[in-house]
């Protein structure tokens, strides 16, 4: 009996040992920020990276994917401080299709679970845009987006619009944006050369697609930046402040340059401006911080041309779209 028990025990002991396992696929650990310091470059792709937007731990931007034959603009998701991409989602993934799609102006919702973006859809090779729509999707699944405002819409005052500019979240379930019309110009390689945007006004709309409302005092505004007690807007070279509830500006400052973008940090408007600081060098695009009391402008110079600025909510941080070495990329800048 002891021998039987011995054989059974030997078998059980044999079965209890662990097997050798095959090699594991090595995990490529994500990288952290490229650099330290107040200004850190977030993207290096020689292609176009634009429209940065950030919230909490996430940065989202639009990326022209030249590796795809359909030249789609995709959405890249980065850690807030920079490093390896968390996700790159493209229209029509995983395979390129016959359309030239672009996901632009993406912004992250206050609870960081959704993004709103403008979806441009056109025929591949065409310089015209087939449609533009404002859509909302889960951060993890941009492709499962729902249309909030379709291509071609009418404002409450009857004006026709077909474009969206400076989309932002106005709460957890509302969006705001500048409504207007737009002509989009591309080169033969489908790269967007320029857009001609004619603003009507800033509007708000529930994400569920309810009634659209026009925000007073924003008629003809090219850019806007909401602050606690009102709204900074740009018309031409004028930076104006429209108090909450008012239908006209209470303050107006002249900006000595062409205003390219507007955002605000802690109530202070920050601009992207094209100016000529040095006649020999010619026009440069820089950042500009405007004193809300005097309108005095403090120039912020970077080793690239600033083409757009966007403040990260609840942080003294800017995400800057800049032009360097023939392409646009994204930097983050922590304000002092």
């Amino acid at each position: 009996m002891r021998a039987v028990l011995g054989v059974v025990t030997a078998g059980a002991a044999l079965a209890a040992c662990e097997h050798t396992t095959p090699f594991d696929v090595p995990r490529q650990d994500p990288l952290g920020p490229y650099d330290t310091g107040p200004i850190v470059r977030l993207t290096f792709d020689p292609s176009e990276d634009r429209d940065p937007s950030g919230r909490d731990a996430l940065v989202v931007y639009s990326h022209l994917n030249l590796a795809r034959p359909d030249r789609d603009w995709c959405l890249g998701f980065l850690p807030a401080d920079g490093g390896t991409l968390l996700q790159m989602a493209c229209p029509g993934d995983p395979e390129p299709d016959g359309r030239a799609d672009a996901w632009l102006q993406a912004v992250i919702s206050p609870n960081a679970d959704r993004i709103a973006f403008v979806h441009y859809e056109g025929r591949s090779g065409s310089i015209s845009v087939g449609s533009r729509s404002l859509e909302v999707a889960p951060v993890a699944e941009p492709r499962s987006a729902a249309v909030v405002v379709p291509s071609g819409y009418t404002l409450p005052d009857g004006r026709y619009a077909d474009a969206f500019r400076q989309v932002e979240w106005a709460g957890t379930d509302r969006l705001r944006f500048l409504a207007g019309t737009e002509i989009l110009v591309r080169d033969d390689n489908l790269r967007i050369l320029d857009t001609v945007f004619t603003p009507h006004a800033m509007v708000e709309i529930p994400v569920s697609g309810g009634a659209m409302t026009i925000v007073p005092g924003t008629d003809g505004a090219a850019f806007y930046a909401p602050v606690v007690d009102g709204l900074w807007v740009v018309r031409g070279n004028q930076l104006r402040f429209v108090p909450t509830g008012a239908d006209s500006a209470s303050v107006s400052f002249f900006i000595p340059g062409a205003i390219l973008d507007l955002t605000a940090v802690d109530g202070v408007p920050i601009l992207a401006v094209r100016i000529t600081l040095d006649a020999l060098v010619g026009p440069v695009r820089v950042g500009a911080e405007v004193d809300t009391a005097t309108g005095a402008v403090s120039w912020m110079q970077f080793p690239f041309d600033v083409t757009a600025v966007r403040a990260v909510p609840n942080a003294r941080r800017l995400l800057i779209e800049g032009f360097l070495d023939g392409g646009t990329d994204i930097w983050r800048y922590d304000l002092p």
Binding site: A3, L31, T84
Partner: protein, 917 residues
């Protein structure tokens, strides 16, 4: 006298054997009075409890036909004599076992007096068979775990090829009924595996087999399953390599069990199971890559996504139906499934493809044996069987979950399985759900988008099912002791269903090849007649077999027709001086694989979606074999067997161009060839404590090798504009192994060595010259030299089995160690056709890298998951330009092309425990 020699020569040159492929053996002998040697007439000789029995004639001779192989008791009884029983008589299928009795008159009490006069089976001219047998005891004692491995121990067998023939030229006969994967035997597997613990005997016939059996050109494997015995017996064993260190452990777990015994009223049962799982189901002795970033560098032993498991179950009932009838019910079920490692998916192992194969076999065997008192015996066997084989290969819906080692205990879930089984080619025009589109993996050590994919670009869902019902009647008429007449026939009704969809992640409208499916119901029929006559030292066997088949399929408006084939077989054996000579001749035919009768779409490396047209007019493949064998016994325990053979193959299925497009082809019975061989076997019988058998085989197997692409390459357009097809040349066949030596040794520690009593060892050594292969240019599109004109290096393996058993209270307890390729030799079983090496040359690697770089020259920015800081030489946040990117592409190419499967299995060790009762 001269004329007689000529006649003998003709007979010798045109010989064939009989009975080889039978599942039953013959017991014959003589019963004499021990006091005076006078033959005892009318004595009854019984094998076991019957019904196999016979009465002696006036010369005391008896003959019992259709005795099941195995160990038997044989008893002789006669009025006025003491019954005498002889135990442990080994009967082999197709062989004659001679058992003589000298019995004692009852009036004279001389217990214990027994005279044995057993003939030498090696030299007995009444045994023309050239069968290579393996009995159950050997199967247990040798380092083999499957029937296929046991067959590989025999002369002339190479990886499923018999005597140099192509794959699929063999047939399996289980308990007297043939089983053949008629769908894709040349490229696929049978799907059915008999648990080795359920085998009473296995045998291989590679020469001219009996007229009873068809559907084979080169070999017949017979397997006789065990019956339940008179008392309850069983055995359970577990074996594993878990205890062994890294590199020796391939994740094996195997359980075998068998139990059998009486039920009631003479009914006996037997059941057996064999289940095995391995984490790496195709272990190879491939060297570790040199690149330290390659994950195989540190752990080169096991491949991920290469697990496999199988389970085989057999159950059998034996029912006596009166004195002269018996029924057997046999059921076998096999399931095997395995993941298929693909180097392209090395960094996405969870998304690979897998394969599942199921086999079912049911047999009802009714046997009638005439009364032993009948002047002319008549034994009849009616067998009705059903065989089914189903196979699917495709992407998995989810990664299998292992529960014990590699065992999942559940069937893999395949994408598109229901669609495939329904052969729904309409729905299959769309992308098949669950088959993901392939993308380049980001998480490789090299980062660059090249070679390594998230899912297989083949996107293949392939399914087939083959079913057949088979009814067979065999009749044995015994005219006296020296003449047997066998006749019988068989009818087989089959059903073939196939489905193939490639690039199933794409809709056909997006460019994927169209799905293909087929379904047809062939039938086959056969009849045979065979006469064996034994006269003094000469045994003559003559048989004739007629086969027919009709695939009953229509392709491109052409309908198949019924094909006929006749197979005469002749054998003679006699004594010439100190030796026994056996000569045989036979003509054999088998229907082609039915897969070649139906259209198929298939992929190639260029993803051009080639099309292959089925040919419903394909006829029989055939062969004719001549064999001459000499048997001698240089010393009492040493036997020598020398055989030479010539096999002429004809009508082999070949792929020939369809029109002028080399990418499209049709199959025809276009190829023919010759196999010539010499087989020498020297055996020191297992007597005492040692036995050794050594076999040497020298053979040459060549055939025409028609291939659509080769044919187009050989075509020449002469200046006059005429097309000239060069003379047809025969090339070595893929399994043309010129020299092979197999040594099988068994030894047992003498009982006098008490400390090691019960220890036994078996050794199998194999050395063989290399198989042929074809060299091409670096592009792979032009053959260098002649097809198969190059040779792989020789191979050598040494397998061992050590066992220690202890008998304790009726239990046989044992531990054993089974070692394969004990020397750990790295055998090369394939090479690249472009350089003759296992690994690609630097030029090939660079060319691959260059091609991949040109396809994706884009810089890799810092934020990309593909960015590798160590490759960013200038630290500018971009891996860009040829200087920085090409090293990555080259290392990726070297990773992809590292040789893995060109190498055979490494040293494999398993340790087991067993209990038998």
């Amino acid at each position: 006298m001269k004329r007689r020699w000529v006649l003998a020569a003709v007979l010798l040159a045109t010989a064939a054997t009989a009975l080889e492929a039978q599942s039953a053996g013959i017991v014959r002998g003589q019963v004499t009075d021990v006091l005076n040697g006078v033959p005892v007439a009318g004595a009854e000789v019984v094998v076991g409890d019957g019904p196999a029995r016979a009465r002696t004639d006036t010369e005391g001779r008896y003959l019992i036909r259709d005795v099941r192989p195995g160990m038997h008791q044989v008893t002789a009884r006669a009025v006025g004599f003491v019954a005498l029983t002889r135990d442990s008589i080994v009967v082999s299928g197709g062989q004659i076992t001679v058992v003589d009795f000298a019995i004692v008159p009852e009036a004279v009490a001389l217990p214990g007096v027994e005279v044995e006069a057993q003939r030498d089976q090696l030299l007995d001219p009444r045994q023309p068979q050239v069968i290579q047998h393996i009995l159950a005891a050997e199967l247990r004692e040798l380092p083999v775990t499957t029937l296929e491995e046991a067959v590989e121990l025999q002369a002339g067998v190479v990886s499923g090829s018999f005597r140099g023939g192509r794959l699929g030229q063999d047939a399996l006969v289980v308990d007297g009924l043939g089983i053949k994967n008629q769908l894709d035997a040349s490229t696929g597997r049978l799907g059915l595996q008999i648990p080795i613990v359920a085998l009473e005997e296995a045998a291989l016939v590679t020469n001219a087999f009996s007229a009873q059996y068809g559907q084979a050109l080169s070999g017949v494997i017979t397997a006789v399953t065990r019956d339940g015995g008179d008392r309850l017996e069983g055995r359970v064993a577990y074996e594993s390599d878990r205890l062994l260190p890294d590199g020796w452990d391939v994740g094996l777990d195997r359980v075998t069990a068998a139990v059998g015994g009486p039920v009631a009223g003479g009914v006996r049962f037997f059941a057996a199971a064999d289940a095995q799982a391995r984490i790496d189901d195709d272990p190879v002795a491939a060297p570790a890559p040199e690149d330290p970033l390659d994950p195989r560098h540190a752990r080169p032993w096991l491949l991920p996504h290469n697990a496999g498991e199988r389970a085989d179950v057999l159950a059998k009932l034996t029912l006596p139906l009166g004195a002269h009838h018996e029924a057997r019910l046999l059921g076998v079920a096999s399931e095997s499934q395995r993941e298929l490692y693909d180097p392209v998916l090395k960094y996405a192992p969870g998304s690979g493809a897998a394969e599942r194969l199921s086999g079912r076999f049911g047999l009802l065997h009714l046997r009638h044996a005439s009364s032993p008192s009948a002047s002319t015996s008549l034994d009849a066997d009616l067998r009705i069987g059903y065989f089914e084989k189903e196979q699917i290969r495709g992407p998995l819906l989810e990664e299998p979950t292992s529960r014990f080692g590699a065992a999942t205990f559940e069937a893999y879930a395949f994408a598109g399985r229901d669609l495939a089984r329904a052969r729904d080619t309409v729905t299959a025009l769309h992308a098949i759900p669950g088959v993901e589109r392939p993308e380049y993996v980001e998480g490789t050590p090299w980062g660059v988008p090249a070679f390594f994919m998230t899912t297989s670009p083949r996107g293949e869902v392939a399914w087939n099912r083959f079913r057949e019902g088979r009814a067979r009647l065999d009749v044995l008429l015994g005219g006296g002791l020296d003449t047997d007449l066998r006749l019988g026939g068989e009818y087989v009704r089959q059903r073939v269903e196939t489905f193939t969809r490639l690039e199933a992640y794409l809709a056909v409208a997006e460019g994927a090849p169209a799905p293909s499916a087929s379904g047809f119901s062939p039938y086959q029929g056969s009849a045979y007649l065979e006469l064996q006559h034994r006269a003094s030292d000469v045994t003559l066997t003559a048989g004739l077999r007629a086969d027919l088949f009709d695939a009953r399929v229509e392709t491109a408006g052409i309908r198949s027709k019924t094909k006929f084939a006749l197979g005469p077989r002749l054998a003679v054996s006699t004594v010439l001086g100190p030796a026994t000579v056996v000569a045989s001749w036979g003509r054999f035919a088998q229907p082609p694989d039915f897969q070649y009768l139906a259209d198929a779409a298939f992929d190639d490396t260029l993803r051009t979606g080639r099309f292959r047209r089925g040919n419903p007019t394909l006829g029989f493949e055939s062969s004719m074999q001549y064999e001459f064998q000499v048997r001698a016994r240089p010393s009492p325990y040493v036997g020598l067997r020398i055989g030479v053979f010539v096999k002429r193959l004809d009508g082999l299925v070949a792929s020939v161009p369809l029109g002028l497009d080399p990418d499209s082809s049709i199959f025809g019975n276009g190829d023919y060839g010759d196999v010539r061989g010499l087989e020498i076997t020297v055996e020191r019988e297992f007597r005492g404590d040692v036995g050794v058998r050594a076999t040497y085989v020298m053979q040459q197997a060549e055939a025409t090798a028609t291939d659509a692409r080769d044919l187009f390459r050989r075509l020449q357009i002469v200046p006059s504009g005429d097309t000239v097809i060069p003379a047809t040349v025969q090339f070595p066949l893929d399994f043309d192994r010129r020299h092979a030596v197999i040594v099988v040794g068994r030894a047992r520690v003498p009982r006098s060595v008490f400390a090691l009593r019960g220890t036994e060892a078996a050794l199998v050594g194999r050395w063989s010259s290399g198989l042929p292969y074809t060299r091409t240019n670096l592009g792979g599109d032009s053959i260098l030299g002649l097809p198969n004109s190059n040779r792989l290096p020789p191979q050598f393996t040494l397998d061992l089995l050590l066992r220690r058993s202890v008998m304790l209270g009726g239990l046989d307890l044992g531990v054993f160690a089974d070692v394969r390729n004990a020397t750990g030799r790295r055998n090369l079983v394939a090479v690249r056709r472009d350089n003759g090496e296992a690994a690609p040359g630097e030029g090939i690697v660079r060319a691959l890298a260059e091609h991949a770089y040109e396809a994706n020259p884009y810089p890799i920015p810092y934020e990309s998951p593909r960015y590798r800081a160590w490759a960013d030489a200038d630290g500018d946040g971009l891996v860009a330009g040829r200087e920085e990117l090409m090293p990555l592409f080259e290392r990726a190419a070297r990773d992809l092309t590292q040789p893995i499967f060109p190498y055979a299995a490494p040293r494999l060790v398993r340790i087991g425990v067993e209990i038998a009762f």
